[in-house]
Amino acid sequence: MKRVLLLCAAALSAPALAAPIAITGATAHTARGEEVIQNATIIIDNGRITAIGAGLPAPAGATVIDAKGQPVTPGIIAVPSDLGLTEVGGVRETNDGSARGAPFSASLDMASAINPASLQFAIYRMAGVTRAAAAPDPGKTVFGGQGALVSLAATGPTLIRPRAFQFAEFGQNGARLAGGSRPAAYAQLIHLLDAAKRLAANPAADVGGEDEGSLAKRRDVEALLPVLKGEQLLMIHAERAADIREVLKLKVRYPALRPVLVGAREAWLAAADIARAGVPVITHSLYDLPDDFEGLAASRNNAGILQAAGVTVVLGPLGGIGGTTPVNLPGYAGNAVGQGLIPGGKGLTRGQALASITANPARMLGLTDTGTLEVGKRADLVLWDGDPLELMSTPTNVWIDGVAQPMTSRQTELAQRYKTLGRTDLPLQYPR
């Protein structure tokens, strides 16, 4: 057994044995403010960025990649996503994000289901996504369970942090899950968190039954302890400004709580309060329709107004936008820039937009050694063939922990197979 473990460890640290990589002639968008380093050299060794600067010489023996002036950015971090949990959304048996019939909720641990063989890994990776938060979709109570952080490295390791955050529903989804109203959702939320509070004070406290109908399960209450103590983020989906303010008030009741607002279409109406509370917001740059009665004020100005108020803004591949996918995160960030160019529009600068999909999610998730191009950071890098936020640009190279990633997927194989049609000596399904 020990021998097997040692072998694994050797395999994992394989990049350490590889020669250093020097990316030269790059336009480095570091995701530190508006910083752009022209003619940058980025040196990668042992999976980390060991040097970055204009015109640095490549070390002897290094593998040199000439960027030819093209942009290099930090890897994109997709949060929240269903990566590794869902293969085909409409095929129930391939979907492990939600468990409507389960007796448990907050204790459901997404790490137990992450499937590194999911073909989504390759598709997202080719688009420059290097890390992701695999989040549950609450199906039983307002709490959905504990999300995991994953790396998209083709050779693994995939799971980089289990139980990194708890995910909860507030607003109308929470109301539906809890029995039909917002007060019911609120009651369920505080019932479980209060139980965790009692458990924290007294480990022998009776905080939950084991029968089907019990209002709390001990296992779920235990899972909320790190949330209560602020050791684990609490991502809460809330859209309406009033719901958002209720979430902020939870910090009064549970002082250590570290909420993150998800969705937050109407957050711009409460931007100053959110900023004062120091609560990050994960939203989408393209929400602009009154899709429902909790998003009546949805506006593409949301991200820009929040940013200006001092809120940490993360753009996520959230639902409510048809076809939303982590693949398009750079485009969503680019659209946030575009919004600022409209008369009366509030948008992000290019630096802020890039940070909203790299540095900000990294900081929010506590992935402190990722998210920017800086010495000492993990070498999660993307080399692009044009402006990274433009729709027509695509990565030409992706490195994760300093390891060059394959740039093929099942999709590229399909395209190659059907690129040329017409009858051949054997059906297309024979390798050519």
Partner: protein, 475 residues
């Protein structure tokens, strides 16, 4: 106010009567009209009237005219609702408004061939769920226009995205979903005030997972793909017999040997199908998989009708040569895939590969948000094609957004490209329109300025949004 309303109603009645008279005039001279019962072709005619426009010249822009042509530092004159002149220089009539547009772009308006605006309006509450008459696998008697809420806030957002026409379709729960209607994103008090004048109707059909899931879960036909086809074939057979009955009756009535009471009973469902069989109604067919599209093509041949476009068509790239040979368009997303089993093989090169095979490629939205930036979807599709080695220019890719959907809707003689005499459905862009940073600055429909990014008085606010948080904000 009240008397105005009465006047308007009277005007509508007159307009309707006028249309009826025109129809009468079109009938064969030999017939005795009073004695022949006929099925009206357009009983709910458009009451859309172009809004007043000003003669406008846009100077210095780069123009993508929608036919695939690009003109740099060019000019266009909009006059009397039409494209009056386009080229390197155009005449500048006295009193015309001049827009200096150096560095800006002008394109033909975007046409979305697949929208559910109006039938699934915002807010998306159950009370607004009017897109699927999922009470039978075949409901060709329902018309999307009778579900359209002309106050859908989504129309204003689509307009701001450069949309100048859209096709509102029933959903895909049914094999035969009902008739689709072509609209302009112009608010009105009735759907008829949004209707694109004299645009052909469509029949929304669907294959694959949706119908078999919806009805199979109720333990009724169809629960399988073979059930889908069997059900549809029976209905086409019924429609053929129905059409024959009416043709037989009409022939006899025109010969004076049939009385009006001999006319067959009208079946509204079969009216629609007979309209397809006679080529007046265009089939817009939701279908994902290549093999299922091939089955539908065989079915269409068996019963003598034509599929105008496959919608979603995520596997069109596998049969692009077949689609070219059959003259069938594909209306596609740029990159949606994998959300259901039948979309598992979606690839980003789909649109470009269909186009490269010489088949008709269209970028569609099927989404109240996506309709706002079809230019961005086309940009992604073009880039994917280029990476595969296909040479595609932006001006050419614009045909996926304007002329091809216009063809797919049977309105290409009037819109879809900036050619002299066609409708002035025009968008002025702040930058190259395939850039993520570009936005429509101004949008003209039939020569009327209906949207201006810098003028709140040219940005409509739907009734629903009045008094709501965020009313009138830049969205």
């Amino acid at each position: 106010m009240y008397s105005n309303y009465l006047l308007a109603t009277a005007a509508l009645a007159l307009a309707t009567a006028g249309v009826a008279k025109d129809k009468d005039r079109d009938k064969p001279a030999a017939a005795a009209p009073a004695d022949v019962v006929r099925i009206g072709k357009d009983p709910w005619p458009s009451q859309y009237k172009p809004y007043p426009g000003q003669t406008t010249v846009i100077r210095g822009a780069t123009i993508y005219d929608g036919t695939g042509r690009r003109m740099d530092n060019a000019m266009i004159r909009i006059e009397n609702g039409k494209v009056a002149e386009i080229g390197q220089t155009v005449a500048m009539p006295a009193g015309a408004r001049l827009i200096e547009a150096a560095g800006k772009y002008v394109t033909a308006g975007i046409i979305d061939i697949h929208s559910h605006l109006g039938v699934y309006p915002s807010p998306g509450v159950d009370a607004h769920s009017d897109g699927n008459e999922a009470t039978s696998p075949a409901r060709p008697e329902v018309w999307a226009e009778h579900s359209v809420w002309p106050q859908d806030p989504g129309f204003s957002r689509a307009l701001a995205g450069g949309i100048t026409a859209l096709h509102a379709l029933p959903g895909s729960a049914n094999l035969f979903g009902g008739r689709g209607v072509t609209l302009k994103p112009v608010y009105g008090r009735s759907v008829q005030e949004l209707k694109f004048p004299n645009a052909p109707y469509s029949l929304k059909m669907a294959c694959g997972e949706n119908p078999k899931r919806v009805y199979g879960s109720r333990n009724q036909l169809p629960s399988t793909r073979m059930g889908n086809i069997a059900y549809a074939r029976q209905l086409w057979s019924d429609a053929t017999a129905y059409k024959r009955r009416w043709e037989d009756y009409t022939k006899r009535a025109e010969a004076g040997t049939a009385k009006p009471t001999d006319a067959p009973r009208r079946e509204l469902a079969l009216d629609t199908l007979a309209g397809v069989l006679s080529g007046e109604i265009l089939v817009q067919n939701h279908c994902y998989r290549a093999d299922e599209m091939a089955n539908v093509i065989s079915m269409a041949k068996e019963f003598g009708y034509k599929v105008t476009a496959f919608h979603h068509a995520v596997e069109s790239y596998k049969i692009a040569d077949m689609l070219k040979a059959e003259g069938i368009c594909s209306a596609m997303w740029a990159d949606w895939y994998g959300f259901k089993m039948e979309s598992y093989d979606g690839i980003r090169e789909n649109i470009a590969l269909v186009d490269a095979a010489g088949a008709c490629a269209i970028v569609h939205s099927d989404d109240a948000n996506g309709i706002q930036r079809l230019n961005q979807e086309a940009a992604k599709a073009m880039a994917a094609g280029r990476r595969l080695g296909l040479a595609i220019t932006p001006e050419y890719a614009w045909t996926w957004l304007s002329l091809n959907p216009a063809k797919g809707l049977g309105i290409a003689d009037r819109t879809g490209s900036l050619e002299v005499g066609k409708a002035a459905d025009v968008v002025l862009w702040s930058a190259e329109p395939f850039s993520v940073y570009a936005r429509p600055m101004q949008v003209w429909i039939d020569g009327a300025l209906m949207y201006d990014w810098g003028d709140p008085k040219r940005r409509p606010i739907a009734d629903f949004e009045l008094g709501q948080p965020g009313e009138g904000e830049v969205k």
